[in-house]
């Protein structure tokens, strides 16, 4: 019995090892089909509900901060980014309005009057939907892949965004071409990894969910 179990364990390990998780450049000839698949998936995405885990790695302290929450997205630009841990914090975008809610108060801003909020909002919405970010006018884009994922690595051209982030990596699942992980790397070398899970795609979401009071 023990021999059989060991054999099964070795087989499992071998199958995991056989999957190559290292990202390698996507051959030039395949880049256009990659972009087309992402565009198609993005175009078909009308709504998304999921959970996320955000891990911030702080190099100078050799520490990380883990935050958890839920995300709601509805086309065109309705987004609700709700943190429940380590404490409650909600960032919602509804058209040109940004709402920030914590355990004590709710604040409202206009993205038209705040360039930084506009950049952050656009980044969040486009990270979730995928395609808008892969715009060569806004970013230098390169593609990588492994057995399960395609990674789009974006280097910002915009001055404001460049001061915040040196690269944005979006990992798309090869089966659905939906964003599975976002990795934001700052000029200081610190990085933030956001992993999405429990996705519900194109399910109806009430507009009320984006009206924060």
């Amino acid at each position: 019995m023990r021999i059989i179990l060991s054999f099964v364990a070795i087989l499992l390990c071998a199958s995991v090892a056989a999957q190559d998780f290292t990202f390698k450049p996507v051959p030039k000839a395949e880049i256009s089909s990659c972009t087309a698949s992402i565009s198609k998936a993005s175009a078909s995405l009308t709504s998304l509900q999921c959970s996320f885990i955000q891990t911030k790695n702080i190099t100078i302290l050799a520490e990380s901060v883990v935050s958890k929450g839920k995300l709601l997205y509805k086309k065109e630009n309705k987004l609700c980014w709700e943190y429940v841990s380590p404490y409650y914090y909600l960032f919602a975008l509804n058209g040109d309005k940004v709402y920030i809610k914590n355990d004590k108060s709710t604040k409202q801003f206009d993205t038209k009057s705040n360039a930084l909020f506009k950049e952050i909002s656009l980044l969040l919405v486009n990270s979730v939907s995928g395609i808008e970010l892969i715009d060569p006018k806004k970013f230098d884009v390169s593609f990588y892949e492994n057995a399960n994922m395609v990674q789009a690595r974006l280097t910002p051209k915009n001055k404001t965004l460049k001061s915040m982030l040196s690269t944005i990596a979006l990992n798309f699942e090869k089966t659905t071409y939906m964003v599975q992980t976002i990795i934001l790397t700052e000029p200081s070398g610190d990085s933030t990894t956001i992993i999405f899970s429990d996705k519900k795609i194109n399910q109806p979401i009430d507009d009320e969910k984006f009206m924060v009071r």
Partner: protein
């Protein structure tokens, strides 16, 4: 003779600086060991829910502090999305800003943060006792013009700390436990322009 005159004048200036804040200064060699200590463990890490108010602007996020050796504390402020606002190191003598987010990276912001972060997170040995308005307090000279005045409770806990600049209180810090049993530091500038609030995040969260 010239040197003696200079030294005497310097001492007189120092005495005069202290005397308008505190009266009857005495040195207590056995430093107050009951004073609040933030970092009792070597290499301990503390996480705070942070809120900074400047005039009508509010910045929130998480402040992580870690003791990186016996005399140095390092800290990083990030917003909820993980974007770094600033980092700093702090020793007994002062705080030094490292990275500061581009939109905040102005010399006067760096200077203010260095002064305030040192006030908030340094826990100097309390050796000099004096009286202000007939109340016994602990006096910590930081620079010639800058002094921290610690008001302790009868049990030795920290009641409040005042930051004096040139004989005037410019900021006050209070430490308390809120109704969720969280440890809170609150620092307010007396002009009401700049406030800091750090609420320790429980490990269970």
């Amino acid at each position: 003779m010239k040197n003696l005159w200079f030294v005497s004048s310097f001492i007189l200036v120092l005495i005069s600086c202290n005397s308008f804040i505190c009266k009857n200064i005495q040195t207590n060699n056995g430093a107050n060991k009951n004073a609040a200590v933030i970092f009792s463990d070597t290499l301990a890490v503390k996480r705070y829910k942070a809120k900074v108010n400047y005039k009508t602007t509010e910045i929130t996020g998480i402040l992580i502090c870690k003791k990186i050796d016996n005399s140095t504390l390092a800290g990083v402020f990030i917003n909820e999305f993980g974007i770094k606002g600033f980092d700093f190191t702090l020793t007994e003598t002062g705080a030094k800003m490292g990275y500061v987010f581009k939109n905040l990276d102005k010399w006067y912001i760096r200077k203010t943060l260095e002064t305030d972060l040192h006030f908030l997170f340094s826990r100097p040995k309390l050796q000099s006792i004096c009286t202000i308005n007939d109340t016994m307090v602990y006096l910590v000279p930081v620079t010639r013009k800058l002094h921290y005045v610690y008001h302790l409770t009868s049990k030795g806990g920290m009641k409040k700390v005042d930051m004096y600049k040139g004989g005037h209180i410019i900021a006050t810090m209070k430490q308390y436990t809120n109704n969720l049993s969280e440890n809170v530091f609150n620092m307010q500038h007396t002009d009401g322009m700049l406030n800091f609030e750090f609420c320790e995040i429980n490990k269970t969260k």
